[in-house]
């Protein structure tokens, strides 16, 4: 039976590197996904992910468990993403995959999905990435945390240091802008 985050954190605080690396293995993909969707660059997202775990390790003694370990990691990652955006002084990049790799796409398909559907899905994915890159940072972050990481409104509010109603407003505004952006995209068909 695998250990909980809390158990692994406690052991890591006692100096057990293996426990900390188990936490890394458990959370590296979500943290990378968060960074990628926030800043839009694969290479930089990997760097942010690594830096998140390094910072977490260095600050582990100070982690008292007030929040969930994952929320704490998300907060570190988001701060690093913000630093990246400010340092680069630009909007996140809508980094669409280079070309459409039909072979790769085909391996992702479900048995009932035709190649036309696959291509359409890829188009939508690229349109979403472009539309997300245009959103203001706070709305984009709220949508990412809610849609892709399944955090509760309260968790997002705590992480972003804002009232609950602000989170909902950001989500509402963000989804509205996304709808408009996606509708503008010619040749695009909704799922």
């Amino acid at each position: 039976m695998s250990s909980t985050d809390e158990e692994l954190v406690a052991r890591s605080q006692g100096g057990d590197m293996d426990s900390f690396n188990q936490l890394v293995m458990r959370w590296e993909r979500p943290i990378y996904a968060l960074a990628y969707r926030t800043i839009g660059r694969e290479e930089d997202a990997r760097d942010v992910c690594q830096e998140t775990f390094l910072r977490a390790f260095r600050a582990l003694k100070g982690f008292k468990g007030q929040a969930k370990f994952s929320s704490w990691l998300y907060r570190i990652a988001l701060n690093l993403c913000r630093d990246w955006i400010r340092r680069e002084r630009r909007q996140p990049v809508a980094q669409a995959p280079e070309g459409v790799d039909l072979i790769e796409l085909a391996t992702e398909s479900t048995p009932t999905e035709s190649i036309e559907d696959l291509v359409a899905r890829q188009e939508i994915s690229q349109a979403v990435a472009r539309a997300m890159a245009l959103l203001p940072e706070d709305q984009r972050t709220a949508i990412i945390l809610k849609e892709y990481h399944g955090l509760t409104f309260q968790e997002i509010a705590d992480m972003l240091d804002c009232p609950l109603s602000t989170v909902k407003t950001r989500l509402y505004q963000g989804l509205t802008v996304l709808r408009r952006q996606l509708d503008r995209n010619a040749g695009y068909k909704h799922v």
């Binding site: 990997r46 979403v128 799922v191």
Partner: protein, 273 residues
């Protein structure tokens, strides 16, 4: 005025039962909220199509060596990232591996060029170098034989020398030594022959060493050139593949748009009918 917070909470199924029932009642009466809800559900479905590329990090956090924090000042925990080796041909082709491969190639090339041949015979073990095709035999080509002793002998074919002038001077020197030896007694001849043999062997060794150094340099240059050529070819191939994929992408997109327009046209017409 509709409550957008409730709309968002309902969208994410985050309303308590009484509030949910109340909002559903509102929805039945409010077309705008119904449309908005429908539209946002569509956006949420679209959002699910966007996934990040598969990462290849698999890094691990490792503690830094103790020497790194030898001071008495309190410090946060020191750590660094450990990246695994990337299993690609580039990672395999490390400088050490490259040098080892180059060394093997140099030895093989040197052996090939020098045509080293070791064999045993009635005179004991004999090592012979040179190309018999271009120089029929050591004796016919005016070569010479240096006997290192009863059990060992070394044949050096001068016809394949990289520097004929040097070899010629050696030959002249040998001839001079032979002439000189005729004027001395047998014991002196023997001593002189042994000494001259050592000198010649030394010169031969030096020449071989120089030749080997030159070949090493040339081989290193050739290897670099091959690597450069491979890189350029690879980059060109990748570029070609990318362009091809882009063309496929453009064609497929264009086709999809045309199909979609056609479907819309058919649907519109059928509705009108």
């Amino acid at each position: 005025m509709c409550n957008k917070d409730d709309l968002v909470s309902y969208l994410y199924d985050d309303l308590a039962a009484p509030a949910r029932a109340a909002f559903e009642q509102h929805l039945r009466a409010c077309e705008e909220c119904r449309d908005e809800l429908q539209s946002m559900r569509g956006v949420r479905a679209d959002l699910l199509t966007w996934s990040p590329p598969e990462p290849d990090f698999a890094f691990r956090i490792v503690k830094e060596p103790l020497a790194a924090h030898a001071t008495n000042e309190p410090r946060p925990a020191q750590a660094s990232v450990l990246r695994p080796d990337v299993p690609s041909w580039r990672a395999w082709f490390t400088p050490a591996a490259g040098l080892a491969a180059a060394a093997v190639l140099v030895l093989a090339a040197a052996a090939g060029l020098a045509r080293v041949e070791v064999r045993s015979g009635p005179d004991g073990w004999t090592m012979r170098t040179g190309w018999p095709a271009s120089a029929p035999s050591a004796a016919d080509a005016g070569g010479f034989r240096v006997a290192g002793g009863a059990a060992h002998g070394v044949d050096v074919n001068l016809a394949t020398s990289p520097d004929a002038a040097v070899w010629a001077s050696i030959e002249r020197r040998i001839a001079a030594l032979e002439n000189e030896s005729r004027d001395t007694n047998v014991r002196n001849v023997s001593t002189l022959s042994a000494r001259s043999s050592e000198d010649i062997l030394k010169v031969v060794r030096d020449l071989l060493a120089q030749s080997e150094t030159r070949q090493k340099g040339e081989l290193a240059l050739r290897i670099q050139q091959v690597i450069r050529d491979m890189d350029m070819k690879r980059a060109a191939d990748l570029n070609g593949v990318r362009q091809g994929l882009s063309r496929i992408d453009a064609n497929v997109t264009e086709e999809a748009v045309t199909h979609r327009e056609l479907m819309n046209y058919i649907l519109t017409n059928s509705k009108q009918k």
